[in-house]
Symmetry: C2
Subunit: 294 residues, 2 copies
Amino acid sequence: MTKEPRLESAAPEAPLAIVCGGGSLPFAIADAVTRRGRPIILFALRGFADPERVAPYPHHWLPLGKYGWLVRTARKEGCREMILIGSVVRPALSQVRLDFATVRQLPRLVRIFRGGDNHLLSGLVQALEQDGLRVLGAQEVAPEILVPEGLLGAHAPSTRDRDDITRGLALIATMGPFDVGQAAVVANNHVLAIEAIEGTDEMLFRIAELRRRGRIRAHERSGVLIKAPKPGQDQRVDLPTIGPHTIEAVTGAGLAGLAVVAGETIVAEADRAVVAADQAGLFVIGVPAHGSSR
Amino acid sequence: MTKEPRLESAAPEAPLAIVCGGGSLPFAIADAVTRRGRPIILFALRGFADPERVAPYPHHWLPLGKYGWLVRTARKEGCREMILIGSVVRPALSQVRLDFATVRQLPRLVRIFRGGDNHLLSGLVQALEQDGLRVLGAQEVAPEILVPEGLLGAHAPSTRDRDDITRGLALIATMGPFDVGQAAVVANNHVLAIEAIEGTDEMLFRIAELRRRGRIRAHERSGVLIKAPKPGQDQRVDLPTIGPHTIEAVTGAGLAGLAVVAGETIVAEADRAVVAADQAGLFVIGVPAHGSSR
């Protein structure tokens, strides 16, 4: 028997601050970082993070808008690096109680809010870095969560599926300047749906519904979900993400599979996702990034 | 009192064949052409046209796939010109009973079916013209159905709305090569939704639903529905269309108004649509075509 390599580093490392939104991904990352021997502290966003799942981890609850408190507390805990992960719905400013540091930043934050999501997030990252916290991408602290190139499961796309993938990637690249569209559904060279703010799951439910009503009439599984980062997207805070629930939604939509950009897509609970895809007969493929026009 | 100009032409004209899909637009056009003194014959698509509304007009019922029968019957009726109007859902080939002329055309029709809707319709138009029927746009036989440039009702877009209109038009032009997206919703420079095959009404219901669930959080009416022809679209068979139901859906989605391309958009029941928009406080504007990149 060979000895397991020790993942822990010899010297104690400064804890990683994880600002934690909704979904299961933040916990998958917290676990991965912990396995590498680095301490973590969750800053769980009130109203988004699941309290039951937060409880076992070292954590603080973070109300939206308490930007100054976040920076102070992270520093007090000795954090010098931070990741922002999990789903957060764009809030109404009126529902956010602002602290003083946030109010000081308000003119800038309001400017940020008026652009698309890219602007919001990149503005927040800039503010944090100016306040001395380095913002990392989740993939930098837990590279095993990125989708690799090639097939992830037992099934492979057909030639027709590959054409649909190429078309979907080109469409997403084209829409990049409009800060919209991380995903599309293409079937037989025909664009069936484009994601804007509704999110991937809801776009896939739409496909399922159109199929149920006979508006899409293919008897067998056909069509591909294509997800790709928006060109110019800050890869530290807004990579496309897939997981078991994505497989479920793709299955429900009657598609043949899904394609994502290798090295630029996060997969949550990869093992469960691949098992689900294999069982449903779906392909899951990581395509090379240089295929797109970024 | 001035004498009304006579709309009837002196010599009896060959009847216009109107291939009539779903919705009320075909009847609005049949009435407009009739008012001009030209006889019409409806070829009502079985499963799409409303039998009660078809009944009062001279008509034949046309099953999908009876291309050869359509050409023969139109000729027999003395028609030399035809328009194709109304909504038709892309059918499953397996549900269509094909006649001989259709089967002869099948390799070409299958090729057509594999492209987007543009290809389908332009292929059909080509086939009809090769068989001696001139295909006209509804706007050529009833120009009063086109949206004119400028405001259609009492309300006007704000500066912010105008920026959103510019952005929406640019987005639609960008997506042109993908044969998708006749419409989008933009609010405060943020793209909220892009239409693919679901249709404008369903896209607007999605916005209403996202607003209801708090995913879009604007307290007042904001955002614009922008509709424009896809670049390269055959204007004889697939112009964007608005009507009272569009106003209703825009109202339901909580938007501030809608913008369409003047001279390249059909308005059904314009009077009722304008009254509805005025009552709801919505602007409706026809913007010049040269603003887009076609």
